[in-house]
């Protein structure tokens, strides 16, 4: 038995459990229900609510579109595709990175940008989300970029707004963060050593509370990755994880062995309502992305993290700043992906409006 086989045998949650379920059928059914509101009848994107339900060609089109926003030297370019359009960034919960990169993307596309600080406005006075939304749409805009603490909020808004407005999900509860998912796919596409179909991807950390993990898993599956591994203590794993069609590990060393991509996730202390971990030190010891664990992966593996990082808890500083880290590249790619999604959604809205006329 090889070291890798021995390590695999150590899995305390049986990776064969997932094989009992026809996850493709289940996923197709669930994906279809979630993707229904976001596509025009011709399959083009009308709202961007999640990667679930989008097919491989659609995800590849987003990646390809994002690639057009880089010049020959790999620098981001401006492209006035949204000139004359108004984009409102509606952030119902705090965000710096996502909101800033959306704003940069919108400005690079020439859009008029409005940042509405809803966190401290009408909803605090008791106004319902529906009324807030209707008031904002009365101010006329083309795109709402929405972040909300409730899972499904973007889907709800897509059913409530007028047909003239596209909703882009900037993160909803624990459910989805599709632009983060797609920027991760762009990063893997550009930086990983092998094509998607040949990759082994390990996602480690707080999967239970992570909208990024759900979007990443869905996108990786659609793009053809067959070996998706997740690893966390049981308290940070959602119930039924194996039914997502991934291999579940509780032993970090086994999980990262021979993989091509290690994706770390932040421990979302603000979302954790009860004690799920003994201590940061113990977590780091068992689940931290350390140089020793990176050495178990393939020599050309890349290390990713959506940030913000807890250094010394989720990841060692030497790994975060090391040669295999693509963490800052992810941030840069995030602007290109958000430009691509904004552009495609606007295109889809125009097609929808033209079809209506």
């Amino acid at each position: 038995m090889t070291t890798s086989e021995k390590n695999s045998a150590k899995n305390t949650v049986s990776p064969t459990e997932y094989a009992k379920f026809d996850h493709n059928t289940i996923h197709q059914k669930l994906n279809k229900s979630l993707s229904r509101p976001q596509l025009n009848s011709d399959g083009s994107i009308r709202h961007f609510l999640g990667v679930e339900g989008l097919n491989k060609a659609q995800l590849q089109a987003i990646i390809a579109k994002a690639e057009t926003f880089f010049d020959d030297k790999g620098q981001l370019i401006n492209s006035p595709e949204l000139e004359g359009c108004t984009v409102m960034n509606l952030f119902f919960e705090p965000s710096t990175r996502t909101r800033t990169t959306f704003e940069v993307a919108e400005k690079r596309l020439g859009a008029n940008v409005l940042n509405i600080d809803i966190e401290r406005s009408s909803t605090k006075k008791g106004e319902s989300l529906r009324d807030t939304l209707w008031n904002l749409q009365a101010m006329t805009a083309d795109i709402f970029v929405v972040r909300h603490s409730a899972s499904g909020a973007a889907h709800f808004m897509a059913t409530e707004v007028t047909p003239d407005i596209a909703i882009i999900n900037g993160g909803d509860g624990w459910h989805a963060h599709p632009t983060q998912g797609m920027l991760d796919m762009l990063t893997i596409h550009r930086e990983a050593p092998r094509p998607f179909e040949e990759l082994s991807v390990a996602i480690v950390g707080d999967i239970k509370h992570s909208r990024v993990a759900r979007s990443d898993i869905s996108a990786l599956q659609t793009l053809g990755v067959k070996d998706i591994r997740v690893c966390a203590p049981r308290t940070l794993l959602p119930k039924g994880m194996a039914r997502f069609g991934v291999k579940v590990y509780e032993d970090m060393d086994s999980c990262v062995t021979d993989c091509d991509v290690i994706m770390g996730l932040r421990i979302q202390n603000e979302r954790i309502g009860s004690p799920l971990l003994a201590s940061s030190n113990e977590y780091y010891k068992h689940y931290g992305i350390t140089p020793e664990r990176v050495a178990l992966a393939k020599p050309d593996a890349i290390v990713m993290h959506p940030g913000p990082m807890n250094r010394g808890v989720e990841i060692a500083s030497s790994v975060a700043d090391g040669a295999q880290s693509v963490i800052l590249t992810q941030v840069n790619n995030g602007i290109a992906i958000r430009m691509a999604v904004l552009s495609l959604a606007m295109e889809g809205q125009r097609a929808h409006q033209a079809a209506g006329k």
């Binding site: 709800f156 409530e160 509860g173």
Partner: protein, 390 residues
């Protein structure tokens, strides 16, 4: 079909009805339905429904007797309030209202309510609805106090430290949608404690809206020990599972949550083998804006009176129950559990059901003010076609 009616109900029927039945094709004549848990939204939540609107919906759908829990606004802990409510339910809605009084003062779980006064005021039993108790000692002493006055207790088992913040059954479907889960043990941990308290105090208890396989097993154990306990299940739990949450379907958001297929099958088996005594509607009508929010921020509840009989007919078609067993679960047993047998028999009445009648669930075909149902726009089979209530 007349055989399904107890003698007193047969005698109360107009002779024209019995003659008509002889010519009817495959209809069922049932005694009036008794609902062990419905929220009619009065007092305090009339924006969702009223005694008049929900009473009329209940009556047209075969329910002549309805039990309401005490978590209204104000809370039902005052004998003088109850009399007025019962009178208005009969006058405005045409139904007999049976009230559960608050088990603890203000439902705060800190000390017993005025249980003797509530009994005098006509409460059929007491309950803390889904509100928690401060600690197990409060629960024990409160049950002893209620037992002193011979009051039955209705439980809606839920351990809040395990269910708090949850909106869906803790499992794959909740995980997929990123919704906070409620583990099944939130129900069974509470149920276990309450059953042991019943054993200790000897109080008669009814456990309402069980949703989990393990709850059925615990009830089987309790009945095996001859504890004075009964239980019911909400009709929707026998037909829906957490799969119905697919796509953030807020119409399927209910507490206790819709659980897994395994749980649903266990509930159906429990019904067949007699472990589960009754089926309630757990009717919770809501106005049109209550579900207009992201799933977890919408209001929990399903409007069930209008779809109840169609789903009951489906249980017969699925061979879960015979028609005679169905009568036990939705008419006779609930009357016994509510302790209203004598009144029930003296009032009499009958319900004519066409189990094959197909109809569509729409705003027009639903009589309840609440149109909040996951069955909306679906074609269902089975309906009350006439009620013979005095």
């Amino acid at each position: 079909m007349l055989d399904l009616l107890p003698k007193v109900f047969k005698e109360s029927l107009p002779s024209a009805v019995t003659a008509q039945l002889a010519t009817e094709h495959e209809t069922w004549l049932l005694p009036p339905l008794v609902d062990l848990c419905a929220r009619l939204r009065e007092p305090g939540q009339q924006q969702h429904g009223t005694l008049a609107s929900e009473g009329k919906a209940a009556r047209a759908n075969g329910f002549l007797h309805v039990v309401i829990p005490p978590d209204t606004n104000p809370i039902l802990e005052n004998g003088s309030l109850l009399k007025g409510l019962r009178e208005r339910a009969l006058e405005d809605g045409g139904i007999y209202l049976h009230v559960l009084g608050a088990l603890t003062a203000g439902l705060e779980g800190e000390r017993p309510s005025n249980i003797a006064g509530l009994k005098k005021g006509g409460c059929i039993a007491v309950s803390n609805a889904r509100q928690p108790f401060a600690n197990d000692m409060v629960l024990l002493r409160t049950l002893e106090y209620a037992a002193t006055f011979g009051m039955k207790v209705f439980f809606y088992p839920d351990e809040p430290s395990l269910s708090k913040g949850g909106v869906a059954h803790e499992g794959y479907i909740a995980s997929y949608h990123g919704l906070q889960g409620i583990p099944w043990i939130a129900e069974t941990v509470a149920l276990s404690t309450q059953l042991l308290m019943v054993e200790e105090t000897g109080i008669a208890a009814h456990f309402s809206q069980l949703s989990c396989k393990s709850s059925v097993e615990l009830m089987r154990w309790a009945k095996g020990k001859n504890l004075p306990v009964t239980c019911d299940v909400a009709m929707h739990q026998l037909h829906l599972t957490d799969d119905n949450l697919e796509g953030f379907n807020a119409q399927a958001y209910v507490l206790p949550p819709l659980r897994s297929n395994t749980d649903q099958q266990a509930l159906r088996r429990g019904l067949t083998d007699g472990t589960i005594d009754a089926i309630c509607s757990h009717h919770e009508p809501l106005n049109s804006t209550a579900k207009k929010a992201p799933f977890a921020e919408s209001t929990a509840g399903i409007s069930n009176l209008d779809t109840f009989m169609a789903l009951a007919c489906q249980l017969v078609r699925d061979d879960v129950l015979t028609v005679a067993q169905l009568v036990d679960k939705i008419c006779l047993n609930p009357a016994k559990i509510a302790g209203i047998d004598a009144q029930y028999e003296s009032i009499g009445g009958a319900v004519l059901v066409d189990p094959n009648l197909e109809w569509q669930v729409t705003a027009d075909t639903m009589l309840s003010n609440g149109k909040n149902t996951p069955f909306f726009n679906q074609q269902l089979q089975g309906k009350v076609v006439e009620t013979f209530f005095g």
